[in-house]
Symmetry: C2
Subunit: 318 residues, 2 copies
């Protein structure tokens, strides 16, 4: 049966989410994809507003992402960072010379009074992206990680300390007074399908879901909502998701991820190596699709996106 | 007779001024040089506060300046500028990847409420500079050039339009409410010698002299005040000084420059090729020293600085 969805909404964090979003962009008609992106990792460095997940999604959808590391720009250089070090600045955040320009322009236009939603649309459009990249909100939300060393800002925990600390809890500072933007609300309410990308369920999809009104909006939507498990074979493909799930008392498996999303999602795609978790996930009332989920190539991204869209259509017809 | 000055103040604009300042830094004991720098060329680009003359002086005194072009940093790259173009931004100002960092840090610390004087001292000190680099003031002054095309911001005239327009007049917007910083006043009043570097007398030294109280402070100082002519053999070594002098009705010669500084300076160093102007300049009551003034090497810079200091001492003894 041919797919009929002409559009979809994806919820995404950084690298893993960006890859599936890229697949969905390839699979859907031009302009059909809307990506709602985590901004809990946003932070200020040297006076610049940095939005790591927005940038990863934007660079990936523009075809400019560094194919090896997944974040940053292909062919970027580090001369500015060397100058920072010369000025005695602690250059722990790997900010490339081309990447810096994104932050400079974002900071400039935010200071001119435009919203992060407007600024993001403008930057993405300049890079020729036809998909819609939406920050989850226009208010400041800060993901803070509580560890034995105390509270750490997310980038401090994630980049500077290389996510080596055991996470005791996670909080999203400012989330109570934040809310999904009108564009996000509109996208969710009109989406024929909603895909939770294989991003960290705690600190990437977590802040999006924690926005006041967001789970209500998702539940109110009649669209099939499916998630792609970011945990494959007991590990995260990238980042601290596995350690974080474990230290927060979740099962480090698609089942653990499904239990976080239970009550919101209708279906989950799990990797073939995790097929044994399907019955337990189905017992939670969540449909399961078993598929290869590791995206090494553009073809893998597109194939997984096609699987996600077909699975969504099947759920819509139940 | 050996020189005895252990310190001096230089007034400087960009490349030519920075070269002599560098010579003075070499000739004087460590920490003995204070450079008062034009900020009329400062402008905002992509939300960044750019101070071209401060940067040229700072990079030159730090030994980091591009030796070929005189401005910018040796070994800088242009990846960020290519990204700007990708974002559809007009990249007419040649802002290098390392140079960008200077503007980012300056902008950040200015936004934190520190003065340009404090920010400049901090940046220069981070680069290991022992000399004191002082912006002429902490208020915004904008050099505006009136041409047949209308009023042009200085960088627009100078960089974007490559100073091809005939200049009808020059104004320093905001100068009435600006004033020399306390640090500049202190430096002028306590200087044993004051050297006007071979910078453009209209748009580099001009804004410094136009600051309310500045010529009064210079005249009140008992220090010998000497200028090095930026015009050699009827031309400026760099930039639009010659065309500008001519279109504003000045003689394009050391005599023309001397007539602008008359009443303020006590002496002037002119190039050997311009020796014939000495009598006319002396007739204005200005002592003249004839010397090679073209600085091709570090040794040239130091030699001219030594000449300037010896000339100042001779004037002090008159």
């Amino acid at each position: 049966m041919a797919r009929s969805f002409s559009s979809a909404v994806a919820l995404a964090g950084g690298v893993g989410g960006a890859k599936l979003a890229h697949g969905l962009q390839m699979a859907l008609p031009e302009g059909g994809l809307t990506v709602v992106v985590n901004t809990g990792d946003d932070f200020s460095l040297w006076g610049l507003h940095i939005s790591p997940d927005l940038d990863t999604v934007m660079y990936t959808l523009a075809g400019l992402a560094n194919p090896v590391q997944g974040w940053g720009l292909e062919g970027d250089s580090w001369q500015g960072l060397e100058m920072m070090a010369r000025y005695g600045r602690d250059a722990w955040f790997r900010l490339g010379d081309m990447d810096m320009v994104t932050h400079v322009l974002r900071t400039q236009t935010l200071r001119e009074g435009r919203t992060l939603t407007e600024v993001t649309a403008d930057l993405a459009s300049s890079l020729g992206i036809k998909s819609h990249i939406l920050p989850m909100c226009d208010q400041q939300v800060e993901t803070v990680v509580k560890t034995a060393q105390g509270e750490l800002d997310f980038q401090d925990y994630f980049v500077r300390r290389r996510h080596a600390d055991r996470v005791e809890s996670v909080l999203f500072r400012g989330i109570e007074t934040a809310h999904p933007s009108a564009q996000v609300e509109q996208a969710i309410s009109s989406a024929p399908a909603i895909v939770f990308c294989p991003s960290n369920p705690i600190v990437s999809i977590g802040p999006i879901l924690a926005l006041p009104g967001m789970t209500g909006a998702l539940k109110a939507s009649k669209a099939p909502k499916i998630a792609v498990s970011p945990i494959v074979g007991g590990a995260a493909l990238k980042g601290p998701a596995a350690d974080m799930l474990q230290s927060l008392g979740h099962d480090v498996s698609p089942y653990g991820v499904a239990s976080i999303y239970a009550g919101i999602i209708d279906g989950m795609i799990i990797d073939t190596v995790d097929a044994r978790y399907a019955p337990a996930i189905r017992d939670m009332g969540i449909e399961v699709e078993i598929s290869d989920t590791i995206m090494k190539s553009d073809a893998d991204r597109r194939a997984l996106a096609e699987t996600a869209l077909r699975f969504s259509e099947r759920i819509a017809q139940i």
